[in-house]
Amino acid sequence: MVLQGEWTLAAIGLAYPRLRARLEQHCDRLDLEWDLSGVDALDSVGALMLWRAWERRMPGRVRMRPDQAPVFERIRLAEEKGVLRKAPRSPFEWLMAIGDLAFKAGRNLREITILVGQLLLDLGHILRHPGDMPWRETSANLYKSGVRAMPVTALVGFLIGVVLSYLSALQLKSFGADVYIINILGIGIIRELGPVLVAVLVAGRSGSAMTAQLGVMRVTEEIDALAVMGVSRTLRLVFPKVLALALAVPLLVLWTSFVAIIGGMVSARFQLDISYAFFIDTLPKVVPVANLWIALFKGFTFGILVALIASHFGLQVKPNTESLSANTTSSVVTAITIVILVDAIYAIATRRIGMPT
């Protein structure tokens, strides 16, 4: 068997399956003499093809140039080191997956608790040493997740207000209960929709950004660098985020509810002929001021929850891109779920407060 031409990956290319089939036809002929001396170039792909056709050993009779020997030597050496085999899969993998999930949930809960504890310690530290307060980070976060979120929350709030008002007006008209539009919008938006809407938007907007930021800092070992410098990562990275959202979210709730009610008011004016003056005059009479306090309190806690969850998942990122994207997703999904869960708890706890009598 005399081989010629270039036996390289570039030259073989698409001809690979054909060439392999032709080599296989000859592989059981032990008496064959192989002559490689006419081969112009031989790289490891070409050599491995031959090696496999020779059933992984040098054939009895082979002629090759001295410069062709090393590649076969390397192949033989690689073979001696053992095979590449993955650890066998266990038949109980599904069971282990369920167990893993339970452990993971438990671990997340524990880590978040530790984080909260650490933040409380940080708070104590700052009260004693006000000079260590991370002002710059807090103000940067306040701007990024508060001020910069104003346009989008206003837009969404306004549209929700219009839609809610429009749909309610259709129903109310048929009962002749037009003025109740103010009660519905007032209570619905201020007490319920405003805080949840803002929390969901902030979780998607700032929560994901916070997780990604902390995650990349994990990947690039920046967090380790901070630790080496003796800077507390919770104090410098997590605390400003929690503080910023604790301040920004209640304010955003006020802002969004305000715009949403304007949207509802405009819609009511066109649908039900309720004048702006009447609307504004009636609103405080039918919506007790306690609702506003509830909304602010909700905003405050939702902000803290979103920042905590975002920071927690950001710090859990392992140094690879897969983990970064998984944790960012988890952060947003968990934050939204928890916000809605907590909102339900608030609804039950405050059911006797702030309702018009």
């Binding site: 690979y16 170039a41 790289d43 792909v45 496999r52």
Partner: protein, 259 residues
Amino acid sequence: MTMGESPAIQVERLSMRFGRQWVLRELDFTVDKGEVVALVGGSGSGKTTLLRAIIGLLRPTQGHVRLFGEPLFSGDAKRDRLLRRRVGMLFQHGALFSAFNVYENVAFPLRELKVLDEDLIRDLVRLKLSMVELLPRHAWLMPAELSGGMMKRAALARALSLEPELLLLDEPTTGLDPDRSESFVHLIRSLRDELELTVVLVTHDLETLGALATRVAVLAEQRILAFGTLDEVMGADHPFVHNFFRTGRSQRALQRAEQ
């Protein structure tokens, strides 16, 4: 492989600018096939930038780059891709895909060809890992679980996986112990002898340089200041060359390399 007339790398009047800072200016650089060129220069002098321009990751601000006689940006995406496949690059920081384990990292470019079967790919990966002295059990580790030197070697295995004709290595031996540097030198040498491989390596490691380089290029003041055999370059009269090659430590390292 027929002896080509056109050089492997041909850089003509290349200028690179980042913002307002010129990193390279009117730089000419030609590397013939089968050469091993060591590129030396101070930190921040633009060595990595030059390599990135050669492989086409950065578009030159001015000037051209030709590989194997073909222009790098021909306008034909398919041709550009085929041309790039003939070049392997080892990045300074490894640039392994962090979501893949070592095996998948090395197998990735081979699988992308879509012609090789998985059995052959497995054999090839084993061969490449053995060439860079990684053990079979390292194949299943994630990049984050590797030591700095192991990461370098895994990245080298990936750079070698497509059987490149031109190999660009950005500091291949930093982070390797002397023993591993030694076997790296052997590996590159034998690849060059067998396949007429062309290599450009950025290095600060004089022992590797002395043992491997057929020519040395000195990058300073935004251009190739001296280019020739080690002896020729050492004769050049420039402060960088003095400091780099003629201190006592450098001399001893070069002597070791000669042995």
